[in-house]
């Protein structure tokens, strides 16, 4: 997934968003001072819950909203004031917005016709697009005669037919059912990479963002919490909010007890944690230590290591096939989520409700959260 994305510093990035804000009614900040560079060829995801401002930001890129502050540059040109119909940017709408009175091929040809392309060239391009999304035999159908997945592909074909410099995807898989979503995700990324178009996509589904994007931003209350590759954000979340939003996570709270060169000691209710950190923290400051459920291990025997384990009672157990999820209640009342791969689980096959167990983890599993 790590694409050969050029360094944004090497030359002008394809898309440059500079201090963009959108303020409604004089005081409601939908988007607050967002700055972002997207390099050519990237698939960039804006991830956040509803009302976080991701859609407003996307609509400003499309030209449906004008920023209250800041500038937007595309390929070095300021497009902040350019009306939507003059931007070399196309969007795949949430629930597609396919023109209901036009056939599939007329929907795809709509944008090409506006460019005054020759009739033959349009027909050729439409055919190529239909082939790309494997809908050639549906050219004459009306949108309402297609399934949701087919409509999604028509919407994609329509949005890339004009070979836009930037493709915007608004919740591209939001209208599909879960099973179809996974296969469509892969298909969508394949097509986008085949065409080689730069993408900005908006989603509230972290899985969708992680699998599709080369880089992503986690948004909340109109601004970015963290920007980085999906892997970096998952493994090194920079705040409680990000850690919480991306996947499930266990967070131990407590004050810093001791500061050492390569690690900190954090005194939590259930254990003293030794957290590797190059970041110096004042003693006594309250921090969080995040550990992903799949990085924890369960055992009946007390681990040999002196630190980084806690003990508790299994209160819940859910078998998922590939893994099993346990809820372990600690002495302090805190409930940990632990995910154990089925293969590794053979030793613990007889674990069940009410059993006293030890939960342990490696040094690298812990991420220090100072905010």
């Amino acid at each position: 997934m790590e694409n050969a994305s050029k360094s944004p510093l090497a030359n002008e990035p394809l898309l440059r968003i500079e201090g963009v804000s959108k303020i409604y009614d004089g005081h409601i900040k939908a988007v607050d001072q967002v700055t972002l560079n997207v390099a050519s060829g990237e698939i960039f995801a804006l991830l956040g819950g509803s009302g976080c401002g991701k859609s407003t930001l996307l609509r400003m890129l499309a030209g449906f909203e004008t920023p209250s502050q800041g500038r937007i540059y595309l390929g070095g040109t300021d497009i902040t004031e350019l009306p939507a119909y003059q931007r070399p940017i196309n969007m795949m709408f949430q629930s597609y917005a396919l023109f209901p009175h036009l056939s599939v091929s007329d929907n795809i040809a709509f944008g090409l016709r506006r460019d005054g392309m020759a009739k033959e060239a349009i027909a050729e391009r439409v055919e190529a697009m239909l082939k790309l999304v494997q809908l050639s035999q549906y050219a004459k159908r009306k949108p309402h005669q297609l399934s949701g997945g087919q409509q999604q592909r028509v919407a994609l074909a329509r949005s890339i037919a004009k070979q836009p410099k930037l493709l915007l995807l608004d919740e591209p898989l939001g209208a599909l059912d879960k099973k179809l979503r996974v296969s469509t995700q892969i298909e969508l990324v394949n097509i986008i990479e085949e065409v080689g178009v730069t993408c900005v996509l908006v989603t509230h589904d972290q899985e969708e963002a992680m699998t599709m994007a080369t880089r992503m931003a986690v948004m909340s209350a109109g601004s970015f919490l963290q920007v980085g590759s999906p892997k970096a954000i998952y493994q090194q979340p920079n705040s409680r909010q990000v850690a919480d939003f991306i996947g499930s996570v266990n967070i131990f709270d407590g004050p810093v007890k001791e500061n050492h060169t390569h690690y900190l000691l954090v005194q939590c209710a259930d254990a003293l944690l030794r957290v590797p950190s190059i970041q110096a923290c004042h003693d006594g400051i309250a921090v969080g230590v995040a550990i992903r459920p799949e990085k924890m291990a369960l055992s009946r025997k007390k681990p040999t290591a002196k630190i980084n384990h806690v003990s508790g009672v299994i209160t819940e157990m859910t078998y998922f096939g590939a893994h099993t999820s346990y809820h372990v209640k600690l002495a302090s009342g805190k409930v940990l989520q632990v995910q154990v791969q089925s293969q590794a689980d053979e030793d613990n096959a007889d674990l069940s409700w009410g059993d006293q167990v030890y939960v342990s983890w490696g040094d690298s599993a812990m991420v220090l959260l100072t905010q």
Partner: protein
């Protein structure tokens, strides 16, 4: 309560299910209040006039009923060119009324649908407001505006734009003013209902694909509001063809409209079969194109 329903159910004949009742009621309504009257008119049109009443169609010759159809009214209708001219003139007045109403009503409905939500209710009220006064009164008011020494002519004379009053009343012009004025709400309301439901994302999608707003209007908004346009045009055209009051009050003696012919046949000539024939032919003239249009529509959709 439940036992009451049960006993009610038991007392109903087996074929009378709730489902049949629900579907049957509108049909019964239509049969009694629309179809039956048309049949009666058809019967009158095929009868003979006997001084003050129409003749009976069925007479009994012993045990055998004999049905006498008199098509002379239809033959006369076909032979006298005045009827044809009146039909054509009625249809063309109705047509122009419809076109002008559409031309004025569409932009009105369009901006109404796009007005801030809090204004929309008020605007709809303003459209409905004229209905609160008598229709006759409103048409009569136009008479006083348009007459030679009326408000409009006096005003134009006063500011010196004209030297002598313009002949407006009792011309096709005054007729059209009255028709458009009266029927405009029937065009605006269905159009507004349709346009206010238009999904703004289609307009955004068009803009996104490089379509100028003006072009978007013709390529997206108008086609998507087709149902509203058709509804509005029918609501205006159909009653406009048979309009009687407006041509009578504003049209003067020279404007030919079928509504006035009907009146004359009924009340001046006392020729009910002829009036019936005029009505039936008018009904066919309006219904046939609509039926064909509907058929084409449903075939196109299939």
């Amino acid at each position: 309560m439940a036992s009451l329903m049960q006993s009610l159910k038991r007392s109903m004949p087996a074929w009378l299910t709730g489902r049949r009742l629900v579907i049957g009621l509108p049909y019964a309504w239509f049969l009694i209040l629309a179809f039956l009257p048309v049949l009666i008119v058809l019967k009158i049109s095929l009868s003979e006039m006997q001084t003050t009443a129409v003749s009976g169609m069925v007479s009994w010759q012993g045990a055998w009923p004999s049905i006498k159809l008199d098509v002379s009214s239809y033959l006369f209708l076909a032979s006298d060119e005045l009827y044809l001219a009146t039909y054509l003139s009625s249809i063309s007045y109705a047509f122009y009324t419809t076109v002008i109403c559409l031309g004025l009503g569409y932009p009105f409905a369009y901006f109404m649908a796009r007005a801030p939500k809090k204004w929309q209710a008020l605007l709809v009220m303003l459209i409905m407001l004229p209905f609160w006064t008598s229709f006759l009164l409103r048409i009569y008011a136009w008479k006083t505006l348009l007459v030679n020494n009326g408000l409009i002519n006096n005003a134009l004379l006063a500011i010196g734009w004209i030297d002598s009053p313009i002949e407006m009343l009792n011309t096709p012009f005054s007729l059209m003013i009255g028709m458009v004025y009266s029927y405009l709400p029937f065009m605006i309301l269905p159009l507004y209902a349709n346009l206010s439901k238009l999904d703004g994302r289609y307009l955004e999608a068009a803009a996104d694909l490089g379509c100028h707003p003006f072009k978007t209007f013709w390529l997206i908004t108008v086609p998507l509001s087709k149902a509203g346009i058709v509804a509005g045009c029918m609501l205006v055209f159909i009653p406009a063809v048979g309009e009687y009051v407006i041509p009578e009050l504003l049209g003067g003696p020279n404007t030919l409209m079928i509504g006035r012919v009907l009146w004359d046949e009924f009340f001046s000539n006392n020729d009910w079969p002829m009036a019936g024939a005029v009505t039936i032919v008018m009904l066919l003239l309006i219904m046939l194109p609509l039926a064909i249009y509907n058929k084409l529509q449903s075939e196109g959709r299939a």
